[in-house]
Symmetry: C2
Subunit: 359 residues, 2 copies
Amino acid sequence: MPVKPDSRKKRVRREDVAREAGVSSATVSYVLNGTKRLSPEVEQRVWEATRRLNYMPDFIARSLAGSKSYTLALMTTDIANVYQLEVIKGLQAEALKHDYVVLIFDAYGDADKYINRLIARRVDGIFVSTAPDFISDELLCKLRDADIKVLTDFSRNSFMPDISYMMSDHYDGFMQAVGHLKELGHTHIGYLSAFDESCYYDVRLAAFRIAMRKLMNETVPPVVCGTWPYTTSEELGMSLMWEMMERYPDVTAVIATNDIMAIGAMKAIREAGKEIPLDYSVVGIDNIEKSATCVPPLTTLDQDGREYGARIFHILYDNIMHDTTGKYIIPMRLVKRESTGPAPREREHVISVSETVFE
Amino acid sequence: MPVKPDSRKKRVRREDVAREAGVSSATVSYVLNGTKRLSPEVEQRVWEATRRLNYMPDFIARSLAGSKSYTLALMTTDIANVYQLEVIKGLQAEALKHDYVVLIFDAYGDADKYINRLIARRVDGIFVSTAPDFISDELLCKLRDADIKVLTDFSRNSFMPDISYMMSDHYDGFMQAVGHLKELGHTHIGYLSAFDESCYYDVRLAAFRIAMRKLMNETVPPVVCGTWPYTTSEELGMSLMWEMMERYPDVTAVIATNDIMAIGAMKAIREAGKEIPLDYSVVGIDNIEKSATCVPPLTTLDQDGREYGARIFHILYDNIMHDTTGKYIIPMRLVKRESTGPAPREREHVISVSETVFE
DNA sequence: TTGTAAGCGTTATCAA
DNA sequence: TTGATAACGCTTACAA
């Protein structure tokens, strides 16, 4: 008999399904979770009863009995960042597919308190995308010791035992970016960094330097930096680009910390009366949506946000299921668009003239 | 004896605290939850033991035993919208203060599935900020019937029994906005709407019409609209403003669905070679951060996002604690900035000239 | 192949 | 003022 399930206050319990199907309540569990194979006939009966009663297992009870809470957490310092938002969406979507749910936190404020909350709620895994300034390594260990799988990002480069990290292959990525510019004939390539020298966890600047040394044989390439607290914005991209143009007039191509900064840099270049890619080539990182539609479309190191988010889920999921941890390298791919082009031939000339004038 | 709490795999349980304090485990519960007052001496002992063992009650067990999950959910269609993001942050922050956690969902895709997830997880309350196109009224009732407190927004104006809604006082807000423009001498005021006439749940357009009738004695004021699916963007603001300028050359002041649209409108006005507020006055809604810093600073109907988010929490919290529902009206306040000014005197003239030319 | 029953860590009811 | 003890709804040995 199809029992009306919507009579307020009464949840359908597993036992109800068992009764409806004429089996024991454990059998229902086995069938629904696929823990044991039973006779097809019984399985059929259980599934039908489940449908008829519109039964849905209670996750809270399930969590208490089992060891998993089917809950993940993500901690970041800028939810508002478009790229992060894509990552979040990707993670969410993938999690939902697997009956997981994800708690999103702004890591500002009292991180210690959040951490305790997560432990109390027995979160299964957590992805931390913040600098150690916001969530210390110690806190990460606390999480780990509470049996929560922890996954970190390039946003901190501290490698701790039994804590997973995933890292885009920035070394390879910068090799691609610098290589691309070299092929186009650029000899003076600069980097706009959101982070300064004292930021020990930034890998991008280091990767840039390595690529420049290997490919251009240059040990002290032109770099301009932001300062603590490190945040990226078009405004910062603009001001750093202005600084770059003033301090390093030879530079004909720049790579920026991310697309947002690169878009800001392009604005500054135009404000200076220069053209892209005629006078300056610009490369970003992330491949956010806007990069394909801005003018000119931005050449960038791709790391599709949604996909990255989905990857986060799978790493954490795998870590939880198999009780392991690991180090994961994610490949990057250079997407060539119209913000990069052949190095200007005349630049050398113009520069030397003005230099002469001022000397 | 201070027991090391970080010995992997072993959670501190309430019983451990009881033993440590030399009381029964129920006593611990009473003290920690303040359910009953006990002798100060005993309370003291319990608190100390709690500290020493670094005990933290398990939320999952607590949820199973009690009726609350200490979890809220929020469903929206555009997480990426800056204003929504502020609201989310405000809600989060307030929730965290009260030991609540909030699940954030993008309502795209299979809403029905999400809803079931929320029921299975026994979420205590949910704030729904989407048009009925994405989450039907029926689904809302399903939630309600599963004993989840539901709170909706102006984003749908369907009023259902035992479902709370909160609504900014748009009628009063538009009275303020139109009144302000009237005082400045504007006689032709237009509205840029993200929603069209067929969008039955939009209250802003209706509020605009009422204010225009009451204050300006105008029954068919100039309105240009977006189309389904309704989303707001600077681009839309721009194109609607262009349309407004073409179709209604008399208009000297516009109000837009929100600040983002208003900022787009200002761009269009400048592209048309006009000045703000000399030629056009512009009013937005929301008072997002950018509105204070854009050029010129935008006059707007304030509804501080963070505060709005905090309000959402308190309504839901109150509904949960006292098992009630209600209708909540949130006041709006006009923030006067430099995007509005006296109506241009010469407009009438210029227009008639061009009209003469074309006729 | 199926059913029984012992947890999981709380809250809450009722005696003591 | 305290302390047992029965739910809460599920998972999972282990027994049948």
